[in-house]
Symmetry: C2
Subunit: 223 residues, 2 copies
Amino acid sequence: RRQFGVIGLGRFGAAMATALGELGQDVIGVDGDEDKVRELADAISQAIQLDATDERALRAAGLQDVDVAVVSIGENIESSLLVVMQLRELGVKTIVAKAVTPLHGKILEKLGVSRVIFPEREMAVRVAHSLALPNAIDYIELSKDFSIVEVPAPEAFVGKTLKQLELRPRYGLTLVAIKRQSHPGGPVVTNITPSAEEMIKEGDVLALLGSTERLTELDALLK
Amino acid sequence: RRQFGVIGLGRFGAAMATALGELGQDVIGVDGDEDKVRELADAISQAIQLDATDERALRAAGLQDVDVAVVSIGENIESSLLVVMQLRELGVKTIVAKAVTPLHGKILEKLGVSRVIFPEREMAVRVAHSLALPNAIDYIELSKDFSIVEVPAPEAFVGKTLKQLELRPRYGLTLVAIKRQSHPGGPVVTNITPSAEEMIKEGDVLALLGSTERLTELDALLK
Ligand SMILES: Nc1ncnc2c1ncn2[C@@H]1O[C@H](COP(=O)(O)OP(=O)(O)OP(=O)(O)O)[C@@H](O)[C@H]1O
Ligand SMILES: Nc1ncnc2c1ncn2[C@@H]1O[C@H](COP(=O)(O)OP(=O)(O)OP(=O)(O)O)[C@@H](O)[C@H]1O
């Protein structure tokens, strides 16, 4: 059974620790701030107050035994780097860290962090894309060139089957899912990779996969 | 041509303004902090220093004319709420806002914000999922029940075509894309919804779509 350590229980760290806990994982969460530690006490296996730049404190808390450590210290870049170094000294195999500037991220990579995360920037890019496509409900980037966009079903699609719509030859898009409410106010049901016989209904939300250009063309069609 | 206003140029706001600018959008970015304004001056149409709780200052900066306003003020919840109210008074149609606590988010919704974003929490949940599936490279939630996971191609799949693998009947999964390097160190090419004849190669990364349970079962298979 794998064990996770989360160092720094700010907005990102606390959400990480809680999410891992909800996924049934064993989590040790640490922070110098007593209030933040207390807030997490019921949500995770262990919540401990300590200064994470202090190697002995980390060791006493058992952090040398975790399989994955997540370092989420933002404002104080120097502390973030020191903590990563301490964890490496302790022999933690996999370290994931939040970075607040590109330079901070580069240094973390040089120190052996296997994955650097920029939560605010990454979310901002995602939201910016969905705002720039005014008819999109959401936008998820799969890679530099391809994304999934969620849009309300265009009028022209309603009442037609996927077979009739010929989305791939005509628009270069793949329908990944249809989200539908069986009745207003009812729960939203997601139908993943629906069959060719599926008919689009009024009010459906379509998750479409394609290149950035194709999705932008689609959005223009929706006006 | 649509115009965007971004109020608050912290990590999230600055990244929003820059991303919108890179998407060719017309952006007015404002912040009380002169340094933050200066940093954005080359990246966006207009970068103005002002106190966003001051309606006359917002008006002088032209914010009543934007189609979409993004409010990204975190630490000071009261300021965040005041700024949203000012924008509503100015008649801005669509307001998107970052929230730092669930209660902050609820109040923003009551004030007419059409979309509330929790950047740190949403990224943390995404990263937590991909960490909890140890063999996953990335995890993207499409809805509560369905996600896309990127995994290295399992040994058992290499050399087989999609037709032979029968991913849907056997594993309940859909192959959304194959990411492949034609030669080591070469560029990664993403092949979206590959044809049934496509053969899996050593080193391929597979983007698979399915329910959370099925993706977890797959991950266990990969050990
Ligand atoms: N040396 C340290 N030892 C333990 N905890 C620390 C240390 N330095 C900072 N922290 C904790 O890390 C947490 C996050 O730090 P900080 O607020 O600087 O980052 P942030 O990036 O702004 O966070 P957020 O995730 O909220 O955006 C804080 O709760 C702080 O108490
Ligand atoms: N009344 C105001 N008028 C203009 N700008 C403001 C006002 N209040 C706060 N700001 C600006 O908003 C920005 C973001 O605020 P703050 O740092 O509190 O939020 P945050 O959520 O911690 O940001 P981040 O996006 O970096 O995580 C800061 O640059 C700050 O100067």
